[in-house]
């Protein structure tokens, strides 16, 4: 069982990530994106954007690109130490405040909000929320992730 008392309320150290145009284009290609706003600078500018925007789920990728040391689901020393073989993604949500664009530098902070068990501990649930802020302090997005750990 995950040590609830130790981990609930843990806030990760801030992680700084760059939103890179090359990765946004790669993401568009890997997802079969057909809207050129997401892979062509000229199309993005024609649509009124200063650069290629990060698509709605790319915030999760930014989070994955720079795992936290403190409170990471998988980290065995400073995090929850969940075995990758046992994890499933249960839910994912996002709330948006401003678009992020290629060239932006974001600071990411993740909080472990809750950990609870069902079926006598056969299933454990980990709720984490992550904030994405621009250099000037603008809050771009908040993400909420529910991970399911299969102990059975």
């Amino acid at each position: 069982m995950i040590d609830r008392d130790r981990h609930v309320g843990t806030v990760s150290e801030p992680r700084v990530v760059d939103v890179e145009a090359g990765f946004l284009k790669f993401f568009a290609k890997a997802t079969g994106e057909t809207n050129p706003v997401y892979f062509d600078e000229a199309a993005a500018r024609a649509a009124g954007h200063p650069a290629i925007p990060a698509p709605p789920t790319y915030f999760f990728s930014l989070h994955m690109s720079r795992p936290a040391k403190r409170g990471d689901v998988f980290d065995k020393e400073n995090g929850l130490g969940v075995d990758m073989m046992k994890i499933l993604h249960g839910e994912q949500g996002f709330t948006y405040h401003a678009l992020a664009y290629a060239g932006d530098r974001l600071t990411i902070t993740t909080t472990t909000e809750d950990i609870y068990a069902k079926k006598g501990g056969a299933l454990e649930f980990v709720v984490q929320t992550t904030r994405f802020e621009k250099d000037d302090g603008t809050l771009c997005a908040e993400a909420r992730q529910l991970a399911v750990v299969r102990n059975g």
Partner: protein, 132 residues
């Protein structure tokens, strides 16, 4: 004029093959081996590698942003209700279930989901999108 009961244009992607998963793992920085390493997936008790839930969520995002520009997407949430197996084709669907006002804005509530070609629902969720 958007009305309750309207449906969004469907978005179909796939079939998902091993190359799709390898590319998505690299592009999305998600290296969990359940999705890219058959030996690991089988050791974890799965039949084979299966698609990242976030791949289908990215497809749902495309359905939403092709319908309304991304700057109008206020919030959304999905539950991953079944895994998406290799070789599946993914169909994304959405339907307006409500129109309401919040903070001086007219918003649409959209029930969204994705299904495999065997009509297994893999994602089930809701999005809130500002109306122009």
């Amino acid at each position: 004029m958007v009305e309750v009961g309207d449906t969004l244009p469907e978005l179909v992607r796939g079939p998902i093959d091993r190359a799709t998963l390898a590319l998505f793992a690299g592009a999305s920085h998600d290296y969990v081996p359940l999705h890219i390493d058959s030996d690991f997936a089988k050791a974890a008790g799965m039949d084979d590698v299966f698609a990242h839930g976030m791949l289908s969520m990215a497809y749902l995002a495309q359905m939403l942003t092709h319908w309304a520009p991304q700057e109008r997407l206020r919030r959304w949430n999905v539950r991953f209700t079944a895994i998406t197996p290799l070789h599946a084709t993914v169909t994304c669907r959405g339907e307006i279930t409500g129109i309401f006002e919040e903070a001086g804005e007219r918003l649409a509530r959209v029930r969204i989901g994705s299904w495999t070609d065997k009509e297994v629902q893999t994602l089930d969720g809701e999005a809130v999108v500002a109306l122009a």
